[in-house]
């Protein structure tokens, strides 16, 4: 299953090309949505609720209408009949509560930052000024901020018409739990909190909408132009074929732009009502409240094991904060973790229960990893706790439980089939690069000396399910769409190639990687290929970009489309070479007759001949263009071993990451440089959850982390130099052997860091530090001992 990684590949695939899109992205000499200027364009600003929960009793927009430069001012009432309800496409259970979600609040607001009115003005400044003249009367209602309290009898209710804050409960169970837990020699109970995170993509959201004839052109900084088009049609009733959605260059999303937002719906409705183009660009502070958040779970975990460290069973009970409304895939996000709490380990029984809870906070939804980081954190933290409990090295306890490489394909207790992997190889490589034994010796030495700076080693042997997704599986999970992806290839007369993909990049480097795939399959130079994406008129079919799906699904669609082009070209080449088709060989872009290498037609020559169409075989249509739609049979299961060394200053609680080794196995690699970039960025984001980031609400329900001074996003200066390497277990479920890599680093790194901190402090009686592990929290854990000082995240150790 596992081959050593080859440093040089013969073709484009495997080549560490620099990304061809970067020059324009880095210099900004390109089209971001906010750069778009249209004749007569006006600017939109939204007035947002300062209350977590309140009834709107009056909205007076008259004074604002008279402000200089103002064209129109609207309240929710003005759109009540046409704005519909923002969509939730993932009703995870039959009895799920999906509350109405008006784009512009009409009678009640349910989180700070919810839009209640909007101003359309000649420029951004006039729009912002006029907001201050809108007068809204609110009748404050009780905020709902704590999930556990929200479920108690008598709690204030976010959506009073539904009478409960429980949106749904979803259950999965496999194996004999009673047998697994009865008389188990070791039972660990833990409570971990996945704090709420703010995605904070570099480019804020922006929307431009232009009425154009009987069509609406809508540009949006979105990850999902295709899904957005369908949803805008369904929400507003405007016919789908009259909506064209364009995602120009998009500066990051991390899931936060996998959404159908109020501002997108309203810009469309405003353009229709006013008959002129409108633009809205989010400010950073506005985005912290109006763009969806991620994570926010309380995890109650019970693990049963033998004294020798072998796991018997695992019970997972989650509370997942939905926020105030269910957005596009809000309720499904925690369920993406349902199949991952078992990690890479074998066990006899497993249960998972997730309760979705409404609170008066910004809605949650996909954020890099989406459900899998939460699950991976839980199991990888538990494995370290188990190791401590039974007195084993954390790597050894994992070794005793993980799926051995000869056992693939492996049907897990959570009902998935892992196609390939080699946890032994990745772990061995990581230990060597990390100098594991040397660091363990240093740790012992520091403990002996009572050094104020203690050293901890964190282990994370993760896997994840990505490449979303087999359509039939999505169907069985009540998801509202399929998981296929589409690609088409246009052979131009001069031998150049246009590749069209439905998977639109927002920073991932598709334009480079897709050209590499097509170059190898078609035998044309990399430079002769142009990749088109992100416009529903140019790339008419697509399921877009999220869930580390682009390469494992969209890349395969492209590969298959290219093979169709080659097949068509082979027929024409055989005709031109006056040979039988079965005697034609295709290599390096040349069709030749077997055994007669000097008689050949290049792909470009064939393309020109097909364009001219003067001399084609009978019945052959004059086009090489092809398309393909790929629906995977299974998810993709990248894995890896991450090791983190953290120095913890026991006098101040400050944590310094000293070294970090990530050995990832993402199957075959198209571009090692892009993979490394994804891993680095992913690590930074996962480390950020462990150490820095948290969306904090005060007791009134105000978000207090509305600037990057309060919401700490780390920079390169705060992170160690990462050591990255790979092992290679090709995926067996797609012809390129590739797996997803977009989320792996984020998923793996959070538990590696927290495990390292706890490992450093175990002699101080610490067995948990709540995330983010701020210096103060680390210091409190040390001074109060046993990690229970904060009382919020750890159950007892029976």
């Amino acid at each position: 299953m596992t081959a050593p990684v080859q440093s040089t590949a013969p073709g484009e695939i495997g080549s560490a090309r620099k990304r061809s899109e970067d020059a324009r992205l880095i210099t900004g000499r390109t089209q971001w949505t906010d750069n778009i200027q249209l004749p007569g364009m006006c600017h939109v600003a939204f007035l947002r609720s300062p209350y977590a929960h309140a009834r709107i009793t009056r909205v007076d927009v008259e004074a604002a209408k008279g402000q200089p430069g103002v064209i129109a001012v609207f309240s929710g009432q003005d759109f009540a009949d046409e704005q519909g309800s923002l969509p939730c496409a993932w009703p995870v259970t039959e009895d799920i509560i999906i509350p109405a979600h008006p784009a512009l609040a009409v009678s009640e607001v349910r989180h700070v930052g919810e839009a209640v009115a909007c101003v359309v003005a000649r420029d951004r400044y006039a729009a912002a000024d006029a907001l201050e003249s809108i007068d809204v009367d609110y009748e404050p209602l009780e905020p709902v901020l704590d999930m556990e309290e929200a479920l108690r009898e008598g709690s204030p209710v976010v959506h009073s018409e539904h009478g409960t804050n429980r949106s749904y409960q979803w259950v999965f169970e496999n194996g004999d739990l009673d047998a697994a837990f009865r008389d188990a020699p070791v039972v660990l109970e833990r409570r971990y909190v996945q704090q709420r995170l703010i995605p904070a993509a570099m480019e804020p959201r922006a929307v431009v909408c232009e009425p154009f004839g009987d069509e609406f052109r809508l540009w949006s900084a979105t990850q999902i132009p295709h899904v957005l088009r369908v949803m805008l049609a369904m929400v507003t009733g405007i016919a789908e074929h009259q909506i064209r959605v364009i995602a120009p260059d998009v500066g990051g999303g991390f899931g936060s732009k996998l959404q159908v937002y109020a501002e997108e719906v309203l810009c469309l409705l405003l353009a229709r009502r006013l008959g002129r183009p409108v633009k809205w660009t989010e400010s950073r502070s506005e985005g912290t409240m109006a763009t969806h958040h991620g994570r926010d779970q309380i995890q109650r975990l019970t693990l049963a094991a033998e004294r020798d460290g072998r796991i018997r069973g695992l019970k997972v009970d989650l509370l997942a904060d939905m926020g105030a409304y269910l957005m596009l895939v809000t309720p499904g996000i925690p369920l993406l973790g349902a199949f991952m709490f078992n990690g890479i380990y074998k066990m006899d029984a497993y249960s998972f229960t997730c309760t979705g809870v409404f609170t008066t906070k910004t809605p949650t939804d996909a954020y890099r990893g989406a459900g899998r980081p939460e699950a991976t954190y839980a199991i990888e933290r538990l494995m370290d706790e188990l190791a401590a409990e039974v007195g084993l090295d954390p790597i050894e306890v994992r070794r005793r439980n993980w799926i051995r490489h000869e056992e693939f394909p492996y049907d897990t207790i959570a009902g998935l089939t892992y196609d390939s992997g080699n946890y032994e190889a990745a772990t061995e490589r990581a230990q060597i690069l990390f100098e594991y034994d040397r660091l363990r010796a240093e740790q012992a030495d520091r403990r002996d000396r009572g050094d104020p700076v203690q050293l901890g080693i964190g282990v994370s042997t993760f896997t994840e399910m990505c490449g979303l997704a087999p359509s039939r599986v999505l169907g069985s999970l009540s998801y509202g769409a399929g998981g296929w992806e589409h690609a088409s290839v246009r052979m131009l007369p001069t031998g150049k190639v246009e590749v069209v993909t439905g998977s639109s990049a927002h920073g991932q480097g598709h334009e480079t990687a897709w050209a590499q795939i097509a170059a190898d399959a078609l035998g044309v130079p990399f430079e002769d290929i142009r990749v088109l994406h992100g416009d529903t008129q140019v790339a008419p079919k697509g399921m877009d970009t999220y869930g580390s799906r682009s390469l494992a699904v969209g890349g395969i669609a492209l590969h298959n489309a290219c093979l169709k082009v080659v097949d068509k070209a082979r027929t024409v080449a055989a005709h031109l070479l006056e040979a039988a088709e079965q005697d034609i060989e295709f290599e390096g872009g040349r069709f030749s007759v077997r055994g007669v290498r000097d008689q050949a037609k290049t792909m470009q020559e064939v393309a020109l001949a097909v364009f001219a169409a003067h001399d084609l075989p009978d019945g052959v249509e004059p086009s090489l263009d092809s398309d393909a739609t790929f629906d995977p049979d299974d998810f993709s299961f990248p894995h890896g071993t991450h090791l983190c060394a953290a120095e913890v200053d026991t006098e101040t609680g400050f944590v310094r990451l000293r070294s970090y080794v990530a050995v990832d196995d993402v199957g075959k690699v198209v571009n090692p440089l892009i993979v490394e970039g994804q891993v680095h960025g992913g690590l930074a984001q996962g480390i950020a959850q462990a150490l820095y980031e948290e969306a904090v609400y005060d007791e009134a329900g105000n978000l207090t982390t509305t600037t990057l001074a309060d919401y700490l996003v780390p920079s390169a200066a705060d992170l160690p130099a990462f050591t990255t390497d790979r092992t290679e277990s090709p995926a067996t479920t797609n012809p390129l052997g590739v797996k997803g890599v977009g989320e792996a680093g984020t998923i793996a790194s959070t538990p590696a860091v927290v495990n390292a901190i706890v490992d450093a402090l175990r002699p101080h009686g610490v067995h948990d530090v709540p995330m983010p592990c701020t210096p103060e929290r680390v210091w409190l854990a040390i001074t109060q001992g046993a990690g229970g000082g904060l009382g919020s995240t750890s159950g007892g150790n029976p």
Partner: protein, 286 residues
């Protein structure tokens, strides 16, 4: 966010700037590097009616030797302070602390005088000027006024400047022979403000501490001198144990804020630990 409308004046000399400020009245603000003021305006937490932009007042930039002190022009950027040879030679504590301010982009725009007048207790430079007994020089239509650092910082975001006064520069006494110094900044990320900072200068003589000056960042609504610690270490040995013992008094007289990054109790604890460390580094304690 988008700032509200404001008037804008761009004088080219100090005289012109002082006149503009007097004319604009109390609701005008002086714009130096804009690294603090502009974010406040964009968040609509500040609504100045007019900005007096000092960017073109060349005479406010630069460091010059002023005998037993350095005179640092108010519009000298952090970047220029960090690179200035006179600052390195005579006020290394200032160079050290300035190098920790925010990030390179901010240090290229942000100015020495601007960050002092902003009087943010979490800013790094107020404590440095307090520790070094710097003197602030202000101009107004009424003339020149000199204000000792101990009197300059009045309260949260409030300096002793009158509305018509313009800070032209700061006189920073030179440290002579035998002085060592250190700025100990504790923050969660490299770009973040100090949770606590300790500006420390120590003069050694014959193996003992002859004199120590210690000022704390973000331990009250303005920078505070740790006089009790200064007194406790004076005349004592250069040793970490002695410094730890003396630093037990570091939080005396402080009134630290509580925020997302730390409680008041945690800040007091940090002040004690970091003061001992700052003393040890400044004094070269073994």
């Amino acid at each position: 966010m988008i700032p509200a409308q404001f008037g804008y004046v761009r004088p080219e000399s100090v005289d012109e700037a002082v006149a503009s400020l007097a004319e604009a009245g109390e609701d005008a603000k002086v714009l130096a590097g804009g690294q603090s003021l502009l974010p406040l305006m964009r968040l609509r937490l500040a609504y100045p009616e007019a900005l007096i932009d000092l960017d073109r007042v060349a005479e406010l930039r630069g460091v010059r030797d002023d005998g037993d002190a350095l005179f640092i022009g108010a519009m000298t950027t952090h970047h220029d302070v960090v690179r200035d040879p006179l600052v390195h030679a005579h006020a290394p504590l200032l160079a050290q602390a300035t190098a920790t301010v925010a990030d390179p982009a901010v240090r290229h725009r942000g100015t020495f005088g601007g960050s002092l007048v902003h009087a943010d207790p979490a800013g790094d430079l107020p404590a440095v000027t307090l520790a070094l007994d710097a003197v602030f020089v202000a101009r107004s239509p009424r003339g020149i006024r000199e204000i000792p650092a101990a009197d300059f910082f009045v309260d949260l975001l409030t300096s002793a400047l009158e509305p018509d006064e313009l800070l032209t520069g700061v006189r920073v006494p030179k440290l002579g022979e035998g002085w060592g110094c250190h700025y100990e900044k504790f923050h969660r990320t490299a770009q973040a403000w100090a949770i606590v900072g300790v500006a420390c200068a120590v003069r050694r003589s014959n193996g003992t501490v002859a004199e120590a000056r210690i000022a704390l960042t973000n331990m009250a609504s303005r920078p505070v001198r740790a006089h009790a610690v200064e007194t406790a270490v004076a005349g004592g040995p250069v040793s970490l144990d002695a410094f730890r013992s003396a630093a037990g008094a570091a939080a005396e007289g402080t009134d630290p804020p509580a925020d997302l990054h730390g409680s008041a109790e945690y800040r007091r604890h940090l002040a004690r630990v970091l003061t001992a460390r700052a003393l040890a580094t400044a004094a070269g304690a073994p």
